[in-house]
């Protein structure tokens, strides 16, 4: 292992206004077509990511965060009906035919998965997988692609890059695998990286290393990053903005510092309280009552209402995502005890 790369000082990232928007998602909805008609999975999701910015998509399993990512990449299952606009670097890509969407993958958008062991091919060498991508997307020769692949591995902190290129995924440790995955995702110079729970499967000390690496890459390459996670604590450290999802809906959106410190939506508050935090000496946790309603059984109106202590008759109609204080929340009775 090489030494950890020192991150650039924070000042090199220019503040918000000057940054160009890379990804814009407007009113994205996704439903699965099945024998009984349409089954809504994600409704009315909107957010934007600027270059060099990390936005977290936060929620528990089944909230629709991963399928949102695959809709952006254009790799959602065949039976998915997608509505809304997705704009990448000024071009509306959601209207493009599948073949053209595929051409954007790799070259303009990179993807990092949760489990690199299964996300990398088990019987093709690391080098083969990287050069396939480089040769196809950038039209490099075999030799140039191999050189570039070695450079990339070196850059993500993998020693003996040439040897690793000849090796296979099962020969690497968990942290190394995720480094390879990151090298693959950035290999063709994309402007957007979508990382789906990239550190969930890793040990804490390795998780920290990989988060550092992602942050370095984001700063050095000025990448827009969509960071999908269930862990609000990681969000606070790593992402400038956050989008909290619940049952296919965006329930809160804003700067992650604001959301982590003083959320407006009772669900976001519940997520924070449910985690045993360091040093707070509680003897009981505050869980969110009940369970997430399965897809197809969402309640009318506010989908969180059945589990919410603040719900009343008004919550039977659907709230819209509106500004409450410093964040946007989809709630009739947002929390007000904020500094």
């Amino acid at each position: 292992m090489t030494a950890h790369i020192t991150p650039l000082p924070a000042e090199t990232v220019s503040p918000g206004a000057a940054r160009k928007t890379v990804l814009e998602v407007e009113n994205l909805s996704l439903a699965f077509r099945n024998a009984d008609g349409l089954l809504p999975i994600v409704t009315d999701v909107s957010f934007a990511i600027a270059e060099g910015e990390a936005v977290a998509l936060v929620g528990e399993s089944g909230c629709g965060k991963s399928i949102t990512a695959s809709a952006i990449m254009g790799i959602a299952p065949d039976n998915a009906e997608i509505a809304g606009n997705i704009t990448l670097n000024g071009t509306v890509i959601s209207a493009l035919p599948p073949k053209d969407r595929r051409r954007l993958c790799g070259r303009h958008m990179g993807f990092i998965f949760q489990e690199p062991m299964t996300a990398l091919h088990p019987t093709l060498s690391i080098g083969r997988q990287m050069t396939d991508t480089l040769r196809h997307n950038l039209g490099l020769s075999h030799k140039d692609a191999t050189d570039r692949a070695a450079e990339l591995l070196d850059r993500v902190g993998i020693p003996r890059a040439r040897d690793i290129l000849r090796g296979y995924v099962h020969e690497l440790s968990g942290g190394m695998r995720q480094r390879v995955m990151i090298a693959l995702a950035i290999s063709c110079g994309p402007s957007l990286i979508i990382a789906d729970e990239p550190t969930t499967a890793l040990d804490v000390t390795i998780q920290a290393q990989v988060l550092d690496l992602l942050e370095d890459m984001r700063r050095e390459l000025n990448l827009a990053m969509l960071f999908i996670t269930h862990d609000l604590e990681v969000v606070g450290d790593f992402c400038e903005k956050a989008v909290v999802m619940y049952a296919g809906d965006v329930v809160e959106r804003g700067f992650s510092a604001d959301i982590v410190r003083s959320p407006a939506h009772p669900y976001a508050r519940g997520l924070i309280d449910a985690v045993p935090a360091h040093d707070d000496g509680r003897t009981r946790l505050t869980p969110i009552l009940g369970t997430v309603p399965p897809v197809g059984q969402w309640p009318e109106g506010c989908r969180f209402a059945p589990r919410c202590g603040r719900a009343d008759a008004q919550c039977r109609t659907r709230p819209s995502l509106e500004r409450h204080g410093v964040t946007d929340a989809r709630c009739w009775h947002p929390l007000e005890d904020r500094p």
Partner: protein, 314 residues
């Protein structure tokens, strides 16, 4: 890699010797006396005894066993009781036909199975998929002699594209050889191809759900590369396993097919030799079949190790 192959090689030794020992014992313990059969009804007891002595059949069974072992080690399998010439000369004449039949059948089965399975998986739940799945069920459940007769009736008797029976060796020209081997090989391979179709279909469907396929797509690789290189490489593994397992089945099935199509193969030779109590020839035949099987399995293991780097390390 070499160590892996060495280990595989040691493992095939029992697969050669266990059947041989079983055959030796079965032949010796079953009723019927080859000397009597060879000499016919008119033979005297003295003549039979003399022949038994000449063939070593009057020795205790363990002595016969030792002689037999020595024969295998020195590659002298004795003379055929019926043909009165060395077994080592008879076997190759018949083995070639059987090996060619099995290899062509296996090739056809893999070709048909992989193609149909792939088409089926790529068109999941569409009419073409349902058609293939139904055909595969038929292919697995109907016996091969029935297919053989059906093929003869349609392609040889009605359409007259192929001869009804008989055999031309490859030395007679590829077309002449192909004409006589195609229908038997197809009849022999149809069941395996149906099995492989199903195997290919289900393993392809599984593999298409694997995250590394999503990664390949997310990297922008065209669908032809994703399927042809990334998915096929892993989806083919179970098919290769089936191919390995079916080698034994194909050699066994060759007996029926050789008889129906009148091919001068090892299977037909064995059946006839068993009928004549021609011990040395039966033993030689079984040895040959075991050897072919073992070599085929070694080849499959080799292909496996090339395709899947994880195996080399186990």
């Amino acid at each position: 890699m070499l160590r892996y192959l060495g280990k595989r090689f040691l493992l095939i030794l029992p697969t050669i010797f266990v059947p041989l020992i079983l055959v030796f014992l079965l032949l010796r313990l079953s009723p019927g006396d080859p000397a009597g059969m060879m000499l016919g009804d008119q033979a005297t007891a003295e003549q039979i005894a003399a022949l038994r002595n000449q063939l070593g059949l009057d020795q205790p069974i363990w002595v016969q066993f030792l002689f037999w072992i020595r024969g295998i080690v020195t590659l002298d399998l004795g003379n055929s009781i019926f043909f009165r010439e060395p077994v080592m000369q008879i076997i190759p004449r018949y083995a070639g036909v059987t090996i060619l039949l099995a290899v062509v059948a296996l090739a056809l089965a893999v070709l048909i199975g992989v193609t149909l399975g792939l088409i089926s998986a790529m068109n999941r739940n569409k009419p073409i998929d349902r058609g293939v799945v139904t055909a595969a069920v038929l292919g697995i459940s109907l016996p091969e002699f029935w297919f053989a007769l059906l093929l003869i009736f349609v392609f040889a008797v009605t359409l007259r594209w192929f001869p009804v029976a008989g055999y031309n060796p490859p030395t007679a020209g590829l077309i002449a050889f192909g004409a006589t081997i195609f229908l038997p090989a197809l009849a022999l391979g149809v069941r395996q191809s149906a099995l492989m179709t199903r195997m290919m279909r289900s393993s392809m469907l599984d593999v298409l759900n694997e995250p590394y396929i999503t990664t390949a797509r997310a990297q922008g690789l065209p669908e032809s590369t994703v399927i042809g290189r990334y998915a096929m490489r892993t989806a083919a593994m179970p098919v290769i396993t089936v191919a390995g397992l079916s080698a034994g089945y194909l050699l066994g099935g060759a007996v029926t097919i050789e008889i129906i199509f009148a091919l001068p193969g090892l299977g037909r030779m064995l059946v006839e030799a068993v009928g004549r109590r021609d011990y040395p020839l039966v033993e030689g035949g079984v040895l040959a079949i075991s050897l072919v099987l073992a070599v085929l399995n070694l080849v499959i293991d080799l292909i496996y190790a090339i395709l899947d780097p994880r195996i080399r390390y186990q």
